[in-house]
Symmetry: C2
Subunit: 388 residues, 2 copies
C-alpha cells in the first residue's frame, strides 16, 4: 500500500483519491507491525516546519484545516505561547486561587449569509461558544458578545440577530454579561461579525480532554454529520436542492450533562465544526498520540446531505457541524453512553463509529464501505469558507 | 442662562457653541437652586425614547456617543437584558460559587491604520481590555484573542501585530489563553480586526464602580487627554503636524494597583476611551445620579494636541485616550491618591480636575477658562470613527 499513501498531498481530506497534486515528499513514512503506513511526528509544529507559510493571508487560513494549523503555529503560538494556550482545545481550563476551575473559550462568527435554514449568526454565535465550553465538561454560565457592524446594515437585521441570540442564550441557560459595538465603513465588513467569549465552571471531578484518550476507547458521534455546512452553502450559493437542508446548530451543554451523568469516565469530547469530523479526529489523534480507526459506513449522514456532497464533490467527514459531538469513552461505558445520547432530543441518531488504537499514532484511518482503508487526512483549508 | 441651554442640540459635545442645529425641544429643563440648568431624566433609556433609532447602521453608532448608547439600549439591552449586563461598566463583575469574584470584559478593535505612532492594533487590543478590567479594581490575568483577517493581508503585518500583542501582554502581566482565527474575503474586512476578552480576579474588599460615587468626591485624571485619538487621526489622514503626536496606549493595571494601595477607598475608575472624557463623565454622572463639575482649565492637554484640536475643530474632552484614567476619590484621600498617581511613570501629569456634586444630577458642567460655565454634553458619535 505504500505507493498509495505516497500520494498524500497538499489538497486536503480525501485527497488520497485526488489527482493533480504533489506528494509531500519529505513526509516521513514508516510501515508499522500491521503493515499500515504511519506518518510519524505528525504534530502541527512539525508539519509547519515542512511547509513554508505563505506571504499573504488566503481564505484557507481560516477554514479549520492544515493551513490554519500552520498559521496558528507559525504566527500565533510562536509569539503568544504559554502552557494554557498550548492546550489548543475547544476551551481553556483555568485554575482559580482556591479550588475552583473555570473554562474560557472565544470564537468569532463571520458566517455568510447571516440567516440560513435552521439558524442565523446570532444563535450560531451562542451555540458555538456554549459548545466549546461544554466540550471540556464545563457548565457554560456567561457569554460576552462583541459586534462589528458594517455601515449600512439594516437595523432590523441586527434586531433579528440579537433576538435570536437572546433566545439561544435562554435555551442554553447562559447570560450575556458584557458587550461591545464597533462600526466599520461600508466595504470593510459584511453586515455583522460577532465574537462571543464564554466562561463556564468546571464541576469538581470533571476532567475531559484530548490527553485522556486511551487506546481501546470507543468513539461515538451524537448524530448525522455535515448538516450545517451543506445548509449554509446551499443557502449561500442558491443551490436549491429539492430536499430541505437544515443546519444542526444547537447548544450541546444539556447533551453533555446527560452523557457525563451516564458515563462519568468519558475521556474526551469534541464538536466537529470547521473541517468537520476529519479535522477534529486528526487534531485529537495528534494531541492524544493515538491512532483513530473510523468505521466510515457507521457514520450517520442524512440522505439529502449525502446527495449534496456527492454532487458537489465533498466528503461529508470534512463538512462542518454545529450541533454534534464526538466522544471517546472507555469500552465499559460505551453502551450506557450511547443510550444516554440517544435518549436526548439532540442525540437521537447517535452512533458508535470507531475507536482509538495504539497503532498508527496521529493518524486517522477509515474502513471504507467496500472493505478497504483510507487515510482520513486533515482538510487543507479552502473547502467551505465562512460557514461559522 | 436658559435660552443658552435651550440650544443644546443633536450635534454632540461642545455643541452648545455650534450653530446649524436644532434644539431638543422636548428636553425637560429645570432651574435648580444655584440657578443652573438641570436636564432631568437624563438616562440613556429615556434619551432613547426621545429619539427614534435610525433604520440603518451609521459610523456614529460605533463611536462611543449618544448614537451608540441608543443602539445599545434599543437593540442590545432590549433583548439581552439582565442585571449583570445592565452594569454597563468597563467590565462585569461575576460572583463565583464560593467566595471569589471575577471580572470580565470584551472589546473588538478595528483601528485604522493598523500601525500608528505609539502603538498598533495588537498592543491596543491588549491595553484596551486590560484597562477595562483594571477599572473595576480587578487584577487582569487572562486574555482571549480572536482575529478576523482579510484575505490578502501580508503575513508579515500579522506577525508584527502578534509580536506587539505578545510584548504588551508580557508588560501587563497577562497571558493569552485562548484564540480564534477567521478569514473573510478581500473587501469584507480591513486587514485585521481583533477581539480581546479579558478575565481578572477582583481582590477581596475591592469595590469600585459608578454606583459608589458620592457628591463631594474629588475627580482626578492620570495625565494629558486626547493623545491617542489625535495620533491615530493624524497618521490616518496624513496630517503631518510638525510636532510628533504619539498615542498614550498603555496598560493601566499597575497604576491602578498603586492608586488603590494609596487610596483604598477610591470610589470609581474609568478610562476615557471612545468619546473621551466627555462621554465617560456623562455616563458616570447618569449611572451614579450625581452632577460633575469640571475645572476645564485644569485638564492637562499637550500643546501639540491642543493645537491640533483647535485646527480641526475638536474639543480635546471628546477625543479618545488609551492610557489614562479618571478616578473619583473621597476628599480625604484625594491628596494621597494624586501623589500615588504622580509617582507612577504613567501618571506623572495627573491632576485634580473637578468633583462630584449633588447639584444637576446626570449633567457635566465645565467651568471654562474665562469664568463661564458650559454643559459638557455626550458626544453624538461621528467625531472620530475607528480610533480603537
Amino acid at each position: 500500500m505504500i505507493p498509495e499513501f505516497a500520494r498524500i498531498c497538499k489538497r486536503g481530506a480525501g485527497d488520497i483519491l485526488s489527482d493533480n497534486c504533489e506528494p509531500l515528499s519529505d513526509t516521513p513514512q514508516l510501515t508499522n507491525s500491521a503493515g499500515w503506513v504511519t506518518i510519524t511526528e505528525h504534530t502541527p509544529s512539525q508539519q509547519s516546519r515542512r511547509r513554508k507559510l505563505e506571504d499573504t493571508i488566503r481564505m484557507g487560513h481560516g477554514a479549520g484545516g492544515r493551513m490554519m494549523a500552520d498559521l496558528i503555529q507559525e504566527v500565533f503560538l510562536r509569539h503568544l505561547d504559554n502552557p494554557l494556550l498550548r492546550q489548543l482545545a475547544d476551551s481553556t481550563v483555568l485554575a482559580l486561587a482556591g479550588n475552583g476551575r473555570i473554562a474560557i473559550s472565544t470564537d468569532s462568527f463571520v458566517v455568510r449569509p447571516l440567516f440560513f435554514p435552521g439558524g442565523d449568526i446570532g444563535s450560531l454565535a451562542v451555540h458555538g461558544t456554549v459548545n466549546d465550553l461544554a466540550m471540556r465538561g464545563a457548565r457554560p454560565l456567561w457569554l460576552t458578545a462583541a459586534f462589528i457592524l458594517e455601515e449600512g446594515l439594516p437595523v432590523e437585521d441586527l434586531r433579528r440577530v440579537v433576538r435570536s441570540m437572546a433566545e439561544a442564550a435562554r435555551r442554553a441557560g447562559v447570560a450575556v454579561v458584557a458587550g461591545d459595538t464597533k462600526v466599520v465603513e461600508r466595504g470593510h465588513g459584511d453586515g455583522v461579525y460577532i465574537n462571543t467569549t464564554g466562561v463556564g465552571v468546571v464541576p469538581d471531578g470533571v476532567d475531559v480532554g484530548p490527553q485522556r484518550i486511551r487506546p481501546g476507547d470507543v468513539l461515538l458521534i451524537s448524530g448525522t454529520v455535515g448538516d450545517h455546512g451543506i445548509a449554509v452553502l446551499s443557502e449561500r450559493e442558491g443551490l436549491g436542492f429539492e430536499t430541505e437542508l437544515v443546519s444542526d446548530s444547537a447548544p450541546l451543554n444539556g447533551l453533555v450533562e446527560a452523557l457525563l451523568t451516564a458515563a462519568p469516565h468519558t475521556h474526551c469530547l469534541r464538536d466537529p465544526t470547521r473541517g468537520g469530523v476529519a479535522a477534529a479526529l486528526n487534531e485529537l489523534a495528534v494531541a492524544a498520540g493515538v491512532g483513530v480507526e473510523l468505521d466510515e459506513a457507521a457514520v450517520p449522514v442524512r440522505p439529502a446531505v449525502a446527495a449534496a456532497c456527492e454532487m458537489l464533490g465533498f466528503d461529508p467527514l470534512t463538512v462542518a457541524n454545529e450541533g454534534k459531538l464526538l466522544a471517546f469513552v472507555p469500552p465499559e461505558e460505551a453502551e450506557v453512553a450511547l443510550e444516554a445520547l440517544r435518549a436526548h432530543p439532540l442525540g437521537q441518531n447517535a452512533a458508535r463509529i470507531g475507536q482509538a488504537t495504539a497503532e498508527h499514532p496521529g493518524l486517522v484511518l477509515a474502513r471504507t464501505g467496500i472493505g478497504g482503508r483510507r487515510v482520513v487526512d486533515m482538510p487543507l483549508g479552502e473547502l467551505l469558507p465562512r460557514i461559522c
